[in-house]
Amino acid sequence: MELVINAVLVVTGIGALAALLLIAASKFMHVPTDQRAEELTAVLPGANCGACGYAGCADYAAAVAEGRAEIGLCIPGGDKTAAGMAEIMGTEAVDIEEQVALVRCSGRLTHPPDKYNYVGVGSCAAASALFGGRASCRYGCLGLGDCQKACGFEAIQLLDGLAVVNQQRCTGCGACAAACPKGIIALVPLKRSAQVACMNTDRGAETRKICSAGCLGCGMCKRACEQEAITVENNLAHVDPSRCNNCGKCFGVCPTGCITLMIKNPPPPFEG
């Protein structure tokens, strides 16, 4: 019996002693933290993507609480986060133009034939170092998924060797754009507008030879556009999203189908 009582007493004693120590420690070694920084961290998305330029959401929140940073830097959080942060800090909310990533290439692997058979490391950065990648189009997507790996929101999928952005999931943080060695991922305003999904500035005849989905610079979209939103420079069409009203006329006349309509497009199917 004594053994049992001893055992209970010793373990309880150790526990109680540890509890007392911890209580004392938390009292005497209490570190005052800025309440607002914690509230701000709770408002932020918590994805720690680094789009704001700080090392994670908590770091950004601390910077804002100390007045070292502006409120509207969180792109993934958008207006909602900015409004929440403004409320905590007691300032005016700023409008954030929401953006999504767009891969400016329409050529799936079936379109541009390969220059050579690439068997190296499975990363776009490595492949592009070797004669600019296997695809015969110098401007095109390499389809090895550096952007997919960079994306913290699983918003990019490779379909037939072409990176496709799921606009529903994309937060516009720009991690993929920074990861793409070809620089063909752009952040475009999340509004209804047409976009040219090609970067090829070669002459139309040359483009046609290597890719059936490349922009030829023919100018048919420019002529079709009633808003004068399209310009053709260096054999490549550009859409000015501030003028575009998403009527879809350019989409209809494009002979190669390299114009996409933002938002109107259903997001690509995702597995898992």
Partner: protein, 196 residues
């Protein structure tokens, strides 16, 4: 001195907790995806193992053993390690904020790491003195760090490899872990001869 060095190198190489004794496998597989998190976790483990060895030794030899309660060591040590880690975390937050930030989430995580409990229990089982226990804890932590750093390198190479579909993810990681572990079998008998 020679004994202490033998203990240290035995724990790091021949009796490596992760790769030879298969303790603390969970963080070994979970946190070894990149080098920086592997280093953060390992630093926290080295830290806690050393302190835990130093604290549990007197508790056993001054309280539990004299009362004939040696069999309570598992339960008592869990209690002590958990409280200790909390205490250390509070103290670090106050006095060594950079270290607190560097260890970050990993410090509270390893409270429940079986390798930390194992090192304290094995210290008692091996009948080490206090100094030997601390060196043993340090060696076990360093061994954990070595395994984590090596394996994060292996995993970085694995990411670029294209294994067959059925091996992707965890299966190929486990295969790689077993091969890494196998390489440590080659160290057996090394330490005793090293200091002759």
């Amino acid at each position: 001195m020679r004994e202490l060095l033998i203990i240290l190198f035995t724990m790091v190489l021949t009796e490596n907790y992760v790769l030879v004794q298969f303790l603390g496998i969970c963080p070994f597989l979970g946190v070894s995806k990149n080098l920086s998190s592997a280093m953060g976790m390992s630093a926290a483990v080295v830290f806690v193992m050393t302190i835990a060895s130093a604290v549990t030794w007197p508790v056993y030899h001054l309280i539990l053993d004299p009362l004939g309660l040696g069999y309570l060591n598992t339960i008592a040590f869990i209690l002590i390690i958990a409280a200790l880690v909390q205490l250390v975390e509070i103290a670090l937050k106050k006095y060594l904020h950079p270290l607190y930030k560097a260890l970050g989430i990993y410090l509270p995580l390893i409270t429940t790491n079986c390798a930390v409990l194992a090192v304290t229990l094995l210290n008692i089982q091996e009948d080490y003195s206090l100094l030997e226990s601390v060196v043993d804890g340090l060696g076990a932590g360093l061994g954990f760090m070595l395994a984590m750093v090596l394996f994060s390198g292996v995993r970085r190479t694995l990411q670029r490899a294209k294994p067959p579909k059925c091996f992707e993810g965890l299966p190929i990681t486990l295969v790689a872990a077993s091969l890494t572990s196998l390489s440590f079998m080659g160290f057996s008998g090394l330490v005793e001869n090293l200091f002759n």
